[in-house]
Symmetry: C2
Subunit: 233 residues, 2 copies
Amino acid sequence: MNVRVLIPAAGAGRRMGGGINKQYLELAGQPILARTLEVFEQHPLIDSILMIVSPAEIAFCTEEIVVPGNYRKVAAVIAGGLERQDSVYCGLQACNADDDDLILIHDGARPLVSCEIIDRVIATAQQHGACLTAVPVKDTVKSVHKGCVVDTLDRTTLWLAQTPQAFRYDLIRAAYDRAAALGLRGTDDAQLVELAGFTVRVVQGDYRNLKITTPEDLPVAEQLLAAEKKVGA
Amino acid sequence: MNVRVLIPAAGAGRRMGGGINKQYLELAGQPILARTLEVFEQHPLIDSILMIVSPAEIAFCTEEIVVPGNYRKVAAVIAGGLERQDSVYCGLQACNADDDDLILIHDGARPLVSCEIIDRVIATAQQHGACLTAVPVKDTVKSVHKGCVVDTLDRTTLWLAQTPQAFRYDLIRAAYDRAAALGLRGTDDAQLVELAGFTVRVVQGDYRNLKITTPEDLPVAEQLLAAEKKVGA
């Protein structure tokens, strides 16, 4: 049984403005994507990493990120598709996994993932086949239609999904094959697994494991990283 | 027509650990609560501010926050109740408002609120009677039961409520009187207004307007504040 990581990093970063893929922006002097890779490269339970980027960025990603970082677990840098879901499906088809391998899927733009979270998702996915990391919603959640509140949701049952999400290969592959056949789209990987009728477990994540999506996320991530280093020193 | 601000700041700050009321913690050299007050003190459309704190903190808040800051709009520092909702109700009963006054309710622990957001909630509440500021959910939201995913919500309709929330006095007072009579609890002020059958508008907020709830929020807020100053300089 191998533990393989898929890192979809083909995002155009439209919400960041400027047309730059946000994952190549620097966070405390290092590209975001390099920092994400570093965590999995160092984690003892991870066997290999497959990076999925836009076709135009394969050479750049290899030469500017993977080679300089000497990431020995990176098995390949392959071309993804138009949307995140398409890219993950490319990775699942390309990764040459056995049915009982574990597949971790992690956003390239979440560089603050911790070893503890990775430990937790691996342990739970090994036991139950499918899991994701998430944090409880802290704010009041409103359902809004045409600028007016329609409903206030019961937040005690609501969690915000993060990554990594981890699945046994046969299960996530079946879910993606089914989604492709039926034309289903999910907002995360787990949703396709849920729609295929499998149970997905939830393990406690960390509010610090944020996804760098909008410009104000970058200074926040830098600060969290600095605070982490201080604690670690 | 007056515009009055209620600032419930009686929170025990349990989620921060250590038993300190988080609103007296320092953010870039100034207590969080003082920074919150500063924004409303400086805003030209605000007429008066009523602070609602725990009974044991009235003297401390007055002597350590209000007097040193010379906040002339602070009409009084009064005792709140056990929970946030009880404190707001104390404020509504104490504030001696006219029916057509506007009441803004704002968390003491949201010091990064901007003048633009305050402008927007005032304008919308003046026109429609009730509004809150909120931001669209960026993450995938899962409904979770006993550690398993039950449902993935359609996030395109979901917003995270923030403060300030603004209401015509007669309307918010009626909603709170009704809640007290029926024993209703809401997760925010708007929910009581919604439950009373009134329509609540939503105006665009700002992800930076975070509530300082858990220890990792403090360095994040400091960084956002620093970034804001750099832009302003």
